[in-house]
Amino acid sequence: MENLLITILLTSIPILLAGLGELVTEKSGVLNLGVEGMMLCGAVAALGSVLIFGNPYIGILFGAIAGILISTVFSFFTITLMTNQVATGLGLTIFATALTGLIGEPFVGKTAASLPKLEIIFLSDIPYIGKILFSNDILVYFAIFLIFFIHFGFQNTKIGIIIRAVGDNHDSAHSIGYSVKLVRWISTSFGGMCAGMGGAYIPLALTPHWSEGMTAGKGWIALALVVFASWMPIRLLIGALIFGGITILQFVAQARGWDVPSQFLNMLPYLATILALALISLKLRHNNYAPACLGKHFLGNK
């Protein structure tokens, strides 16, 4: 049981990290559909760097950098050149899937070192929850920290309020003197960094081998999760854990020998995503929490 809960938590980390990044990006008014591609870049960079340097922490760093770099391609086209965000995001995923396939080919069949578990003294000895919460690798702690950091940042820091303001009404933000494009570049890069780290987590902690397109739709699920969470960081955690649980279900089923074809169990996360989107739309029919400028261009002429 304990192990199961830990596995659920670990499985949810990639979508949680990527979702948190995308949440910040979207709050600033940018819809980056390239999360899947950015995660793949993070994954391949992490794996490659670990194979070269042998240190999994270097992998996190490289994953984050790769995420930022690929997100700047998106920023350049959508923010600076004002291309359609949906199509560009899609292009980014196509581009990144192929690029990572090319880069990752030499890594096929090699195993990377995993992130070590860091036990927090005393806390990890608490019965039942100690092992689950306080005996994890650094990215788990980081992801949890990030939830509260983003939540607090949006409410109480000026930069957080500015990001929300830019996503809410970019013309106003411009007229009181903020650079809408700069704020969006930064937010999108933050999103890229988080997606990169989320992608990095897959080879560093979950499956230490490279396979083409190894994120298997996690980036898209992260996108859906942001909608499901109504752009609230804490709800994102709940959503990510649910998806972690659903993903784990197939392993449980295998272990217990349930007589359900594996394909149907594999479908569950995708079907659950659709269901989640439908339910949240049903609930929030007239109360849309989406940032008002999400996906809209800012011309920004003076």
């Binding site: 000026k158 309020i161 303001a165 809410d168 013309d171 007229s175 003197g177």
Partner: protein, 509 residues
Amino acid sequence: MTNNLNAMKFIEVKNLSKTFDQFLANDSISLTIKNGEIHALLGENGAGKSTLVKCLYGVVKPTDGQILINGNHVTINNPREARSCGIGMVFQHFSLFPALTVSENILISLDEKITKKHLEDKISIIGKQWGLPIEPTKKVLDLSVGEQQRVEIIRCLLQNPKLLIMDEPTSVLSPQEINQLFKVLRKLANSGCSILYISHKLNEIKQIASKVTILRSGKVISSTSTSKISTTSMAEKMIGKKVKKITKFSKNSFLNSLTAISINNLNRKKISQFGTELKNISFNVKYGEILGIAGVAGNGQVELMNALSGETLGDPDEIIFEDKKIGNTNIKFRRSLGLEFVPEERNGHATVPDITLTENTFLTFYNTYSKNNNFLDDILLSSNMSSNDSISIINDNDVRCPYSNPLADQLSGGNLQKFIVGRSLKANPKVLIISQPTWGVDIGAASEIRSKLLLLAKSGKAIILISQDLDEIYEISNNICVINNGSLSKPKITSKISAKDIGILMGIN
């Protein structure tokens, strides 16, 4: 001596020019505002008022000319620099963030470091001091338009401005709110703060300002003390020609005619968190009558228009046209009965910006081209069928096009509105429902549109006019009712309702 004189002037603009592309928006404008002076800037849409103040506030960079503050040359590169020079601005379209709270809205425009909690206290204090009460933790989307303006003003006051620029501040306020605002402005001026007051309403300028500068086509036409100029001559200077007075036709000629349309207990739920719920709206309009619906923006006008046009549907007997219950029918069907609609939003609602006028004519006319309601014939309708109609709309309504059959967004606001109103008239409607027909339209086009509406009513057609512009409502409607927070007051005869009564019905909180 000279020094002393300079100290009196807060800001001096010398020969300021601004060109966009090849268009000269400001042509060598000079302007002086003294400390504690309320200075009005008068001009039509497109006269260059907005460009000038944007230059002063650093949103736009002037192409040429100088700005002196307290006698010193300054260049204002962005709003932040403007604020540090002591210039504050309240925009016409508020630069607020609906999803953020009042204090968050103010926080991000402040250059000093301050915590949210501390700021909330400060907002309450300033609010009390100047008579601008506001709840700092409320979200802006939950505020009325008047309250939103208070947020804008408080935001400026927190920076102790020496000059407050107000862009058309009264266009969204009720008469009572205007009086309140004027009190605040006078108080401010007495404390030494200069005010640049931009407006096209002549009476208001007479009432509040001591000096007026009149702009036309980017040039200063006159700059004088308001006590030395009449409203008529202000208007003439602003337009550049004599103003035509339009006359209403005999008022009661419709009293014995039939009811064209009646609305009975119309209700609509909100469609978004920004919307207004419509509550039990009832009224009748007779043939030959113009019913004016006044009200402050955001009180349900858009929702009412959507319900009347059939873009949102309800129960059949909520709307009865002649004898037909049409509350549940769509806009296409209502058009086929002889109803026509001119919504508030010209671009992207009444017209599609990136298609031609011919195609835009087809947009509301296609139904009339289908001859025998045969399925295949209907499918094969094509937009070039409307080219004759579109040409006659353009000619009959003096729509000035940059080239023949232009895209809709190539027309100026006034010309596009003339086209849209003309398109509705071309359909020969029995009932015309029109919202904000002259919003942002220059005076010439506005008076043309109003005379067309009067003519239509004279020919025995019914008109429902939804407008924020009280002058317009008084000018052409027979009966007036007021929409406030989704409810509609009982119609009253125009001559029997004062602006003050209307203000009360608008419900000042």
